[in-house]
């Protein structure tokens, strides 16, 4: 983090949303820069060097997905996309273009803050994957140094693929990971079409590490998009 109070750039054309986010973020120790158009937003990224960008996909002058793609040509600042429900393909397109995560409108402040924290944490690490060797959430402990997974202190035996899948999710802990990305990283580039591999292994993994696989606590499905490993 560059300063004590991280700087958030909000690119959003709806005044009501800006008003709500301004109030919410400023009362939670974030500094805020606002932009109404994509052009203005890009200028702010260059001029103000924000720590994280909140980007609404429906902007008047440019498509949010295109903006993300342009931004990624020269900036690694985390981008959290805000979009309405039911536009899964928009979310995937934005994540593909380089966005880090997304929020579905309407959302609660708690959700927004959690996403911001995850984004800032990942940004502060030099590169994805270079996180601490031991990952803990609730009862679940993944020790990558010992290649050991325990739930409530009890060791869980995983197959190599299951382990690889879990570790990939740990790398992006807290963030959504696209199905395609998981398939590529776990099974390789040729398996990208085999989404059922992922679903079958995810089900197996849940049965091994979730107390109630039908109501997963950590390995969450983002319908139509991918998966997310909860990290807090």
């Amino acid at each position: 983090m560059t300063t004590l109070r991280p700087l958030v750039l909000l690119i959003e054309d709806e005044p009501q949303m800006r008003r709500f986010l301004r109030t919410a973020l400023e009362s939670h120790e974030y500094k805020l820069v606002e932009a109404v158009t994509a052009r203005e937003g890009l200028a702010h990224v260059a001029g103000r060097n924000p720590d994280v960008i909140l980007l609404d996909l429906g902007l008047p002058d440019m498509d949010g997905v295109d903006l993300t793609r342009q931004l990624r040509e020269w900036s690694r600042t985390p981008v959290i996309v805000i979009s309405a429900r039911g536009r899964e393909h928009d979310k995937i397109a934005a994540l593909d273009a380089g966005a880090d995560d997304y929020l579905t409108k309407p959302f609660a402040v708690g959700e927004l803050l959690a996403r911001l924290r995850v984004a800032l944490r990942h940004a502060s690490a030099a590169a994805p994957g270079e996180t601490a060797p031991v990952f803990t959430v609730g009862d679940l402990v993944v020790d990558r140094a010992k290649r050991q997974v325990t739930v409530g202190g009890r060791e869980v035996h995983l197959t190599p693929t299951e382990y690889k899948l879990l570790v990939t999710l740990v790398q992006y802990a807290g963030r959504v990971v696209l199905q395609r990305q998981l398939l590529r990283e776990v099974w390789g580039i040729n398996a990208i079409q085999h989404t059922h591999y992922l679903r079958v292994y995810m089900a197996q993994l849940r049965h091994k590490i979730e107390p109630d696989p039908a109501r997963p606590r950590w390995l969450l499905t983002e319908p139509g998009v991918g998966y997310r490993l909860k990290d807090e």
């Binding site: 059922h196 849940r206 039908a214």
Partner: protein, 648 residues
């Protein structure tokens, strides 16, 4: 005014005379042809007749073809039935003796005419004589004569054998029986031969002195004369009965085909089906390819959408069809009007005017112009017209019904929406304004309560709007089902997590068999089905009652059940619960606008499955739906050794 014509050149003169008279009298006129039964008209005469009838039509007459044995009686019966005041007939051109022998048409007509005026007009002096007619059904073959002779010989043999037990009268009777049988089987020639032969043989073999033509008593000559007269009378009457039987059979057959078509048309539903049935019957009866043409929005007759093309329609054919539709008169091949077409086109009448045109393309188009066929064709066309009109009216009525239904839905949707969107908005407005306006007087607990309410109501509105959008997507056909093979557990889990707190009063058990196959579904849509079914259960069941989600594999599908222990679905409303804006009767109004289950049905149907509700044994409601396992199941992920990670 009625003009009677026959198949001869005088007909055209009669028709023209009729036209002149009709014009001077300023009256409608009808041209009538009575076709004698079982009598074949020579091809040349047939053409003449067709021409005359066509001429009459062109001159503005109504043409009628009747069938009957006694022409004069048919004409008079028709005249009486249609209020005809004048009858025009041609002067006879045949020799007088024929009238004496067979009865005169004119004589009979004039005597029976009563108060109807009969005009007799000259035929052309140089009129070509009508071609000789075959009075029997078909020319007798030589074989028939031989068989007739054999029959008489057989009679002779029988008589010869039994002569000593028989009187001469009995012998004569046996011969008469033979003549009767011959007449019943064969045509006039063999019958007459049999009659004369019988007399001859009777004379030679049985009348004394036997075995000579000589006769011992003059009285026998009288016997011969009576016998000959009786034989001829028997054969004539028998032949006439046979002719009538043939006519009756023909008529019966025509009536039967017409009846068969009517019956099938009555059972046919929809325009396309009716056209198919009518075309099939027309084709079978008339041996022609049949094409119906109906007017389009611009009033041009075209092949209706969804109906196969029976024969190619080029510009000429189309032009003729349009001419027929415009002028309401037959046209095309074999008619004098718009020439060039290879098919004959008939107007298809209905109660409200012409409904379309039917085209028949036969290998022998002239045959379709034969009066008898033509009349039947018109009857068929009229039948088809009535059926088509019925279908068109039914379609229109159904369309209107749909409109009315849509209008009713719109009204109901608007009132639901204004109520259901305003209720949470009212709560939000109320809570927010009290928070703003009376900050001092509120306790901390009251403040939190109001805020919680604002959040809750806003979420409720969000669900509601989401449902509306889903419904619009289902209804507009914009629902895109992106199927992926996945374990059912995943969408169930997402639905349970997304519902979160709303399920806190209802224990939900999920029991999915471990060997349940993957299902090809759209995960986002299926999750919506589970959400809606669970929300439905929460809404309509008392707190603390359980909800159970189960699934099992059935042939080619997975059957999923979401069952509760609430009050169940009111009897008889199991099907209606999936209708839009349905709310159970006798249950207090709850939140929601009755779209949840309708959306479920839309989504399940889009997956090729079926959803239904029923009473759950032991109490409560059970919602079942199937998810078909369409297509080949995906290949299993590559196998791997069950080596434990972390043990190395």
């Amino acid at each position: 005014m009625l003009v009677c014509i026959g198949p001869n050149p005088a007909g055209s003169r009669l028709v023209r005379a009729g036209k002149r008279m009709a014009v001077s009298l300023k009256c409608d006129w009808i041209v009538l042809f009575v076709e004698p039964p079982a009598q074949r008209i020579a091809p040349a005469d047939r053409d003449m007749l067709v021409q005359n009838l066509q001429l009459a039509q062109d001159l503005g007459a109504q043409t009628v073809t009747l069938s009957g044995r006694v022409v004069a009686d048919e004409v008079l019966a028709y005249a009486r039935a249609h209020n005809v005041t004048r009858i025009i007939a041609g002067k006879p051109t045949h020799p007088r003796w024929r009238d004496k022998l067979f009865g005169s048409f004119l004589d009979r007509l004039i005597r029976g005419s009563g108060d109807v005026d009969v005009h007799v007009i000259t035929g052309d002096e140089d009129a070509r004589r009508a071609a000789p007619r075959h009075t029997a059904g078909h020319p007798a073959a030589l074989g028939e004569y031989v068989l007739a002779a054999l029959a008489v010989a057989l009679c002779t043999l029988v008589n010869f054998g039994a002569f000593r037990y028989l009187s001469l009268t009995d012998v004569a009777m046996v011969y008469l029986l033979g003549v009767g049988l011959v007449a019943a089987r064969y045509s006039r020639g063999p019958s007459v031969l049999a009659s004369f032969l019988s007399i001859a043989l009777f004379d030679v073999f049985f009348v004394p002195p036997r075995f000579t033509f000589a006769v011992s008593d003059v009285r026998y000559l009288l016997t011969f004369a009576v016998m000959l007269g009786t034989a001829l009378a028997i054969s004539t009457l028998t032949l006439r009965i046979r002719e009538q039987a043939v006519t009756a059979r023909d008529r019966e057959r025509r009536t039967a085909t017409l009846y068969a078509m009517s019956r099938e048309l009555a059972g046919a539903r929809g325009l396309t089906e009716i056209m198919r049935v009518a075309a099939l019957h027309l084709r079978d009866t008339f041996g022609a390819a049949v094409q119906f043409l109906l007017p389009d929005a611009d009033g041009r007759v075209v092949i209706p959408a969804g109906s196969p093309q029976a024969f190619p329609l080029d510009e000429t054919e189309r032009g003729v069809a349009e001419w027929v539709f415009e002028h309401a008169r037959p046209g095309g091949a074999g008619t004098a009007h718009p020439a060039g077409a290879r098919a004959v086109y008939l107007p298809v009448p209905a109660s409200g005017g012409l409904i379309g045109v039917v085209g028949l393309k036969a290998s022998d188009p002239a045959r379709l112009q034969e009066p008898l066929w033509r009349r039947q064709l018109e009857t068929f066309a009229a039948q088809a017209g009535v059926a088509l009109e019925r279908a068109i009216l039914a379609e229109r009525a159904q369309h209107e019904q749909v409109e009315i239904e849509a209008e009713r839905l719109r009204t109901s949707l608007l009132s639901s929406l204004s109520h259901d969107l305003r209720t949470p908005l009212g709560a939000i407005t109320g809570a927010a304004s009290s928070l703003l306006e009376s900050p001092g007087s509120l306790t901390e607990e009251g403040r939190r309560d109001l805020l919680a309410m604002v959040l809750e109501e806003a979420q409720r509105m969000n669900t509601l709007i989401g449902n509306l959008l889903d419904m619009i997507r289902v209804e507009s056909g914009a629902l895109q089902v992106g199927k992926e093979w996945l374990p059912l557990e995943e969408p169930v889990g997402v639905a349970l997590i997304r519902l979160g707190d709303r399920l806190k009063d209802h224990p939900v058990t999920v029991s999915l068999p471990p060997d349940l196959p993957l299902v090809p579904v759209d995960d986002v849509l299926l999750e919506q089905v589970f959400m809606n079914l669970l929300e439905n259960a929460v809404k309509y069941t008392p707190p603390a009652t359980p909800v159970d989600i189960t699934a099992r594999a059935v042939p080619d599908a997975v059957l999923v059940t979401v069952a509760d222990r609430g009050p169940g679905i009111p009897a008889g409303e199991e099907g209606r619960v999936f209708e839009k804006f349905y709310r159970p009767t006798g249950v207090a109004a709850t939140s929601g606008i009755g779209l949840g289950l309708a959306i479920c049905r839309g989504i399940v149907t889009a997956h090729g499955g079926r959803i239904w509700a029923e009473h759950r044994p032991g109490g409560g409601a059970a919602f079942h739906f199937t998810l078909p396992l369409s297509g080949p199941p995906p290949e299993a992920p590559p196998a791997e050794p069950e080596t434990a990670v972390g043990m190395q």
